[in-house]
Subunit: 544 residues, 2 copies
């Protein structure tokens, strides 16, 4: 019971979701992780216990950091930390020590919970430069227990939980001010230092309800954690799946065998992830046609029509959403229109690969010019995607200038360029810096990438613009081929001739062994640009 | 586009739902009424047109009354009136002229829209005593056009729409203050004058999302309007079904043939209503087993286990909810537990007939004693049901004293008595005045009614307490029998002997031709009490 006195206005908070599911569905399975499982009663009890232990170590509003893969403890922390009056910082486990050091200092986190396997990374940090007053080791029975690195002083999670305050009365499942911060999520920082994005209880609550409705989550949902919880708190599904008392199936890492095992033996009904996750599922040796429904919600980059068609043939439905850390994960959804049933699979996949329309809990997305005027809905005029509403962040932590800049004109500026189609659907074209200007014409690298990846022998592709004496810039493609079929540059060029205007076809196609990725799985085009390749194909390449 | 400048907090309003569905699903069918149908574009366009016409006749915050059955115009008014800055008063068409006169005066409504068929009722009102500045006649092509009563000056709906302001720019689909009133709903006034219950944009929005999730509304939902829209704005489904771009199927009246026709030919997937609606559907000559899912959400009185079992056998799922006008319709829902699958149909029906637990958007319902302390969760200790949160009304219109009384102790007092079961489910026992105290023991009239109605030959039953020399009070039952099987009082008494403690079995069972109902379909027990029947059975009755 919260202490709010007004009978007709309870501050919105996702803490209510766990309270309710524990009260109503206490005996129902809430979390599965390897051999471990938690009922909703267990889930709520551990959240309370952890919250009490944390509360005795922090001041209200203090940040508490977790460096963990998708384990139950990180899910529980999504309730325990705000229950303790703190703000959760879920750290990206793929970040470098340098990035982690920066975030720990910037967030001023007071406690750091770290997965046993990641203690080595923690040992490499200079915690003396941070406000971290204690490191708590989170062991995981599904992996061998690694040794604590020498010189690192840690408390075991179980010992931390068993602290003196764990016997107190339960903390209230609520918050006094729904605009209070609940989590602090750092951007991947592809364009500079990571920025700290503050989410509110209100925003988290409303986005969770929106996710629930759009994903059609119910008590029968079995949600597979392929999406890292540290990405926008799992696009708010850490809270949404709990709201309907669905089952959280944890996964430490996205491996094809583990994913297909969860689908086949644990009956996963929903999962989220970047197109890479789609590729892993579709390309797995275990892949087979499904009889029970499986919904994949994908974002991060437009899924290629090829992958949509491929998953469709397995009986898997793909929903494409678009968003950013600053908007709690997804903001738009490519709502399916029944008349698309009449289209060919290829035409339908093109429709589905668009970013779509604002979700129910969001507002109408706009594409504007530099004067904040809407561009024509003609499907071709480029503008910036701007967003607004209850799923826009409170602001950047300790950065009022960047916040003011991002909120210029009363809208959040995504920095993403797109077009508005006549049907009101937006389509992302590129980050501003990823547009190639060739002979005065804009070339969208995404468009070129999608054309190339529609070739069946192409596994992955990245396109960049490189300087060119005559045209200013020209596209160059870096292609990862399927080992089974060593397609040539000329074959790829021939394939895309029919799909792209001539000036958009790359003159040069290279075949590196792998593409450089950042910690969120995005291709680091800056590293590709740094290679300094020429736009002019060598004669022997063309014959490859 | 609204005029709010903050990029990260749009005031919550269900107006957003129609804006979005018109933008995204403009060509999709929104409303079906006889031969008429509206797309979502039509729906939004008429809402705008009506809003502009209304706005030129009212001041912000003014009330606008509608006296209509479930026709498209009343649904559209749920958007048009708030869009115009007004507050919708949806009048109960079953009220007497005296009640309507009171409500029109009390609400100070400036405009009165009335269905053609109800103009006779309007002609009987003294509008000179009200603030009504204009009566607009709403014709309905599905019925013959009645004559306008002599002496009543009205504007036809189409002429009103075609007013001078209809060409202006669209009004913004939003509100500046989410706590602003959106509708004013009058209670049925069984215990005195009807009270005006104010709903807010915020409450309407959140309850709509809760209804959407609990009813699993989607774009494929075909919602049959068996529940009057004037009951708590159709329990907020006027807004919720629009949120997911479902289809509203209008119905002027709940007749078995029309309901089954809508199920069979229009593919209705969901409907709501009092147990009477369930009885009409189950008892119809057209009743047959369904292959497609149909969900009935019922409230107003606990559905009898008999009716639940009967609908179950037709393949219809019944969900039982509980609420009041003061809480936007449903507040609790009897969430199904998978372990109930193991129970016998009769035991399961008993579980389902309980009022249940707070909905997702609500708080945990409490049952308290006179000191506001929770009663033991023992399933037997009676207490008052008190509720709180975002689905509690703003307050009673122009009645701060009644509001303060209803909100005493920071909770809304329902005036309903119930028990808390060990599993956290509440069960309504009775309105305080409907409890019978016999020999110092409480007898729940609902419990006795459910026992009697489980007899297959009983169509309807009402139990009241009447004075008794020895016991203080004793129950008397009024039973409507199926014409096919004229069961006797002794047979009914024999049937309930095994279901009730002996002191709860009515000594006297009467068989009137019909039961008196008020305008919301509730049995008027006050009229039964006024009959002044004796609790002592006459010897010839027992032999009946």
């Amino acid at each position: 019971m919260t202490t709010i006195e007004r009978p007709n206005e309870t501050p919105l908070s996702p803490l209510r979701f766990l309270q309710r599911s524990a009260e109503v569905f206490g005996h129902k399975t809430a979390i599965i992780h390897g051999d471990r499982s938690y009922t909703y009663s267990d889930f709520a009890a551990e959240a309370q216990q952890l919250a009490k232990a944390i509360r005795s170590r922090i001041q209200p509003g203090d940040r508490v950091a977790f460096l963990c893969p998708n384990v139950p403890e990180l899910l529980i922390a999504h309730y325990a930390v705000p229950l303790a009056g703190g703000v959760l910082v879920a750290l990206n486990t793929r970040m470098t020590a340098r990035e982690l050091q920066y975030i720990l200092e910037h967030s001023e986190a007071r406690l750091l919970f770290a997965d046993s396997e990641l203690l080595g990374t923690v040992a490499g940090l200079d915690l003396g430069l941070t406000q971290v007053a204690g490191v708590i080791e989170v062991p995981d029975s599904t992996i061998p227990d690694p040794e604590v690195p020498a010189g690192l002083s840690t408390t075991r999670y179980a010992d931390f939980l068993a602290g003196p305050d764990s016997g107190d009365a339960d903390l209230p499942w609520g918050v006094q001010d729904e605009r209070a911060p609940i989590t602090l999520n750092y951007t991947s920082g592809t364009t500079g230092k990571p920025k700290g994005v503050l989410y509110s209880h209100r925003g988290a609550y409303l986005n969770s309800l929106g996710e629930t409705i759009h994903n059609q989550f119910t008590g029968d949902t079995r949600y597979l954690w392929t999406l890292p919880m540290f990405h926008c708190n799992g696009w708010c599904t850490t809270w949404a799946v709990t709201a309907v008392a669905g089952v959280h199936i944890c996964l430490r890492a996205v491996r094809a065998d583990a994913v297909w095992d969860a689908i086949d033996t644990l009956g996963a009904t929903n999962l989220c992830g970047a197109p890479t996750v789609c590729s892993i599922i579709a390309g797995a040796p275990q892949a087979h046609e499904l009889t029970a429904p499986l919904l994949i919600t994908t974002a991060g980059a437009p899924p290629s029509p090829a992958i949509i068609t491929s998953l469709d043939s397995l009986g898997i439905t793909v929903v494409h959403v678009y968003g950013l850390t600053e908007v709690y994960g997804p903001y738009t959804i490519c709502e399916y229109q029944s008349e698309w049933d009449e289209l060919s699979p290829q035409e339908r996949a093109v429709k589905i690969s668009r970013q779509g329309v604002g979700m129910l809990q969001a507002e109408t997305a706009r594409i504007v010019d530099l004067d904040m005027l809407d561009v024509p809905a003609d499907g071709t005029t480029l503008g910036e995607i701007v967003l607004r509403g209850n799923n826009v962040m409170l602001g950047y932590f300790k950065d009022p200038e960047a916040t003011a800049e991002a909120f210029a004109g009363g809208w959040f500026h995504t920095g993403d360029l797109g077009v508005m189609h006549p049907d009101g659907y937006i389509q992302l074209k590129d980050r501003a810096k990823d547009i190639i200007i060739s002979g005065g014409e804009n070339i969208s690298t995404i468009e070129v990438e999608q054309a190339i990846s529609s070739h069946p022998a192409v596994l992955n592709v990245a396109v960049i613009g490189v300087p060119h004496e005559k045209w200013g810039e020209r596209p160059v493609a870096f292609v990862i081929r399927s080992s089974a079929s060593p397609v040539t540059a000329e074959e790829i060029r021939a394939h895309v001739q029919g799909l792209l205007s001539g000036f958009k076809v790359p003159d040069r196609i290279l075949f590196p062994d792998e593409l450089p990725h950042n910690s969120t799985g995005k291709v680091l085009k800056s590293q590709l640009r740094a290679l300094g390749v020429s736009a002019v194909a060598l004669s022997q390449e063309a014959a490859k």
